[in-house]
């Protein structure tokens, strides 16, 4: 079983693509309960961030355009947990009468932010109905935790309740992607269990959406991880948000890899320091392929990677000048590139369309089902510059602006 660690500080670190503009719901210096709303998006009131731990809001700073720079909560006082009123949503779920209260509950508790809509990979609008939902119970990124650790006796019931809530949000199929072991949830009418392999990139939601139910401009497909569905179930049955999530702390910069249960937004230094091997280190929130250097556990991340920090070796001035001046090298279609895209689509054609900025061809090759993380492995394998994940985001932004 993963060891439970409650860090004394926790922060909120949102990915840049979430475009979150801060409207504070709690004062700096005030005490907040775990799971209580503390931030709201000014432009999209359905997006709410909740307190990762119970304690005092120690710092809340915003940067240009009211984007969040830092938010720190320090553990203090009794471990209060915010209680949500779930009766209306539960009644709706039992009676099958609409989803207004359920959507309201998910939005006010911040779990709505855990959903990701494709195309474009943003948090879905408050009232959209997706064509399908993909629940990922597999994570194949290097050193990622097995999501089965998040499931126990009590969580199976929560998962089934969460899946029922999800299926009431959409009219189409719910795909539950899991490993080749025994079934995790109980299958029902629209819930389809999909078994997928263990090798990266099989466990990426984008690849599965591309295979099972491609996203289009006219139809959204949402994806969410299994642990977040369990959280929805827990919220509905108990009215509280889960205190911790399963996180793997691993990498070549550590003496031993660990699997822990820690609060969302946990302090990564506190998690890692005692176990680091000597020497300069870099702590990434996320996997080695798509992680970012961060003080706090990222909003969607379930793993922490510690690497050796390597200072770039100085080059000879002539060599450096030649490299800076030269055009990027093209990517050659080897088996490695084909595997990095899962062999699911005409990969080289897609990469070429992205690198020349041909959005029309990219849409024909199903770029709308993908987000940055789906091309992180290609970036790693080919060491391409500029990165294909950046080119993909630029293409998605252009397509969204024209749509």
């Amino acid at each position: 079983m993963p060891e439970k660690i409650l860090t004394s500080e926790a922060g909120v670190s949102l990915a840049p693509w979430m475009e979150f503009r801060v409207e504070p719901l709690a004062e700096v210096g005030s005490l907040v309960a775990q799971g209580a709303p503390i931030l709201r998006d000014r432009r999209r009131p359905e997006c709410i961030v909740t307190a990762p731990i119970a304690g005092r809001v120690a710092e809340l700073e915003t940067g240009a355009g009211r984007r969040l720079t830092s938010l720190i909560v320090q553990a203090e006082g009794p471990c209060d947990r915010h209680q949500y009123d779930t009766r209306l949503a539960l009644g709706e779920l039992e009676g099958g009468s609409g989803t207004t209260a359920l959507r309201q509950l998910l939005q006010s508790s911040g779990l709505w932010m855990r959903l990701r809509a494709r195309p474009f990979g943003k948090v879905p609008e408050a009232s959209t109905v997706p064509a399908a939902i993909v629940v990922m119970a597999v994570d194949t990124r290097p050193l990622a935790p097995d999501p089965r650790h998040a499931i126990g006796e009590e969580n199976t019931a929560r998962l089934n309740l969460g899946l029922r809530a999800l299926s009431s949000l959409c009219d189409g199929p719910i795909f539950f992607c899991q490993d080749r072991g025994p079934d995790i949830p109980d299958a029902h009418g629209r819930l389809k269990i999909v078994r997928i392999g263990e090798l990266h990139p099989e466990g990426l939601a984008g690849l599965q959406i591309h295979r099972l139910f491609p996203a289009r401009l006219s139809r959204q497909v949402w994806d969410i991880s299994m642990e977040d569905v369990v959280a929805i179930g827990q919220l509905l049955s108990e009215g509280r948000l889960p205190e911790t999530q399963v996180v793997s702390v691993a990498g070549p910069g550590l003496r031993e890899a660990r699997l822990v249960r820690c609060p969302p937004g946990a302090d990564l230094r506190e998690l890692c320091y005692a176990f680091m091997s000597p020497g300069p280190r870099i702590i990434l929130s996320g996997s080695v392929l798509d992680g970012r250097e961060s003080r706090w556990l990222g909003f969607h991340d379930r793993q922490v990677t510690v690497l050796e920090r390597r200072e770039p070796t100085p080059r000879h001035w002539l060599d450096a000048a030649l490299r800076r001046a030269s055009r990027p090298e093209p990517v050659i279609a080897t088996a490695a590139v084909e595997q990095a895209l899962g062999g699911a689509m005409p990969g080289m054609a897609l990469l070429r369309a992205l690198s020349v900025g041909d959005d029309e061809a990219a849409v024909d090759l199903d770029v709308l089902s993908l987000v940055e993380e789906d091309l992180a492995l290609v970036d790693y394998v080919t060491a391409a510059s500029p990165r294909f994940s950046d080119l993909l985001r630029a293409a998605l932004n252009r397509i969204e602006a024209n749509a």
Binding site: L322, E329, I332, T334, M345, A349, T382
Partner: protein, 254 residues
Amino acid sequence: MIRGIWTRETVAMVFLAAVLPVAVSWIWDEGVLGTGRLVFVLVLAGLWQALFTFFRAQPPSAAGAVSAFAIAVLAPEVGPLQFAIGVSFGFVFGELVFGGWGRSVLSPAVVTIMFLGFGFPVADWPHLPVQIGWATIPAAAILLFFGVLPWRVLVGALVVLIAAGGFNFDLLTSAVAFVLVFLVCDPAVSASTPLGRWLYGALFGALTALFAAFWETAPVQIAVSAALLVSLAAPLLDEMAIALWQAVRRYRHG
């Protein structure tokens, strides 16, 4: 954060490693004269690459050495001036003006050899000794092991060649084997979709068999002509494969 190794130059280095067994057996056979030709092409190709690096900021590629070796092996026997013009034309207009290896449509070796073949039709075509054909087997094995060689192209071509030759290896001469492994299976100019690669390999086999049946000439000319036509057809084959893929997906996903 950390970067992988499959850059263009890694692929070029694997190609260079694969060329070595063939190069050894060819130099063994040709001696000093052949080595001189190889050095001549290498110097000229290096010169053009250096010029494009300085004037167009286009990074040079080690794959140029593989093309240079293929030219030294396969080019028809012409005088040094004609040879220099052919090599320059092949490298500049076959590859460098398009942006270097990986951005071009044709292999510079194919362009050079066809340029010399069309320009000087009375020149003798080289005859490749049988050991070069055998030496391409370890070369193909190295390329396949590293996943650089598109195996669908190789298998597609071999199946068609063997079937067209009446289920024996008569069509698979040393020249055809060498051209197939180093010029047709070059991942930078071959088709890139799975179906496109099957068609690309099969088309090379079919064209070789067709030319061999109706054309009384050296195997080298047959193989290189087939390679030229098939690399010109590669974008079309890819386009067909993608159109088919899209039609299947429209049918399946609506």
